[in-house]
Symmetry: C2
Subunit: 204 residues, 2 copies
């Protein structure tokens, strides 16, 4: 996403910059937010001062780009999630593997922690919760679309619970990201192994 | 678990009490730790003072029972997890449902947050990480035992990856606990629906 042209989740243009936007500085600021949260800083305790210090910029640089801490938090979550992946493979199975792969990241562990640690703040702040939902829901819906397509083309069973199946793809992925080796599960080729295990089922 | 007789994860008796142990006070202290963490307090920032204030006890009461903050954190995680459930149903399917049910809780959302938010602290402190592993691993192994039994009795496929299958049971459960309604998945009868969806698979 190009920060020059991005809009907020309410569809309004972001706060107009006082000088030309610097995508590199924007990313450094968003990374600083994610690093502080992943390091155990609570969202409530996170201060613009600490973000500025971590990113090596002045507070004014942050306030030129984001109106408040809530807008900054949501953009950090969005940047962590990356762009909504386009899929269109030969089969729903292939699309699910592509989507699980896109949702994974070398920073999966940090991202699992960040996701969990902002939850108390989301609960306290309905507007923040709404903004977070606006970031997450299109990603959940993309997963469900592929599952529905698999039902329609006969790959998946007609009585599939698509919400449950989507949770069965994202939950294990998040947990592996958070706990890594302790789960006993290898990262190698994980998306394909997960999708195939789910498609085939445990039954003999 | 009776706090009078419990042992630490190293097998040593806990710090000898200066006066008769009070199970109710112990639980209030452990609940205070979990509530503070679930409310967005980082494990690093958690202080014995804040726990004492939340639990309505003096700091000395806490130090009589736990040698340090690390021991208190691990006991809080253990109390959150509850006793390791005994299972022995007619089928592996039934045992999996019983285990997923036992691992769930009305405080699942809080517990998911707590679990995630102590991860940065576990990474910083190898001894704490070891203690946490000692609490978690028997629970993971119980799940794998049931899965292996299902393979042995012919319920589950012979080539089952038991570590992956265990992650596919615990991951969705944790994620539903953390995000609740936003996942689109109902809590009602969730353990049975999860196990059956996993056993049957998505394939038509």
């Amino acid at each position: 996403m190009n920060p020059m042209t991005s809009t907020t989740t309410t569809g309004q243009e972001r706060k107009a910059p006082g000088r030309p936007r610097n995508a590199q500085a924007d990313q450094a600021i968003l990374d600083a937010v994610l690093t502080l949260l992943a390091d155990g800083q609570s969202a409530a305790a996170l201060s613009i001062e600490s973000v500025a210090a971590k990113a090596g910029v002045g507070k004014a640089t942050i306030y030129r780009r984001w109106a408040n801490k809530e807008a900054l938090l949501i953009d950090a979550v969005r940047s962590m999630k990356g762009p909504l992946p386009e899929v269109g493979g030969v089969s729903a199975r292939e699309d699910l593997i592509a989507l699980v792969t896109a949702n994974r990241s070398s920073r999966a562990r940090e991202f699992g922690i960040v996701t969990a640690c902002i939850l108390p703040e989301l609960q306290r702040d309905p507007e923040l919760n709404r903004m977070h939902h606006a970031v997450m829901e299109p990603r959940r819906e993309r997963m469900r679309e592929i599952l529905r397509r698999g039902v329609a083309n006969g790959e998946f069973r007609a009585d599939l619970d698509v919400h449950l199946a989507a949770l069965m793809l994202s939950g294990p992925s998040m947990m592996l990201g958070m706990f890594g080796d302790a789960t006993g599960v290898s990262e190698e080729d994980f998306p394909a192994r997960l999708v195939d295990a789910l498609v085939r089922g445990l039954a003999a």
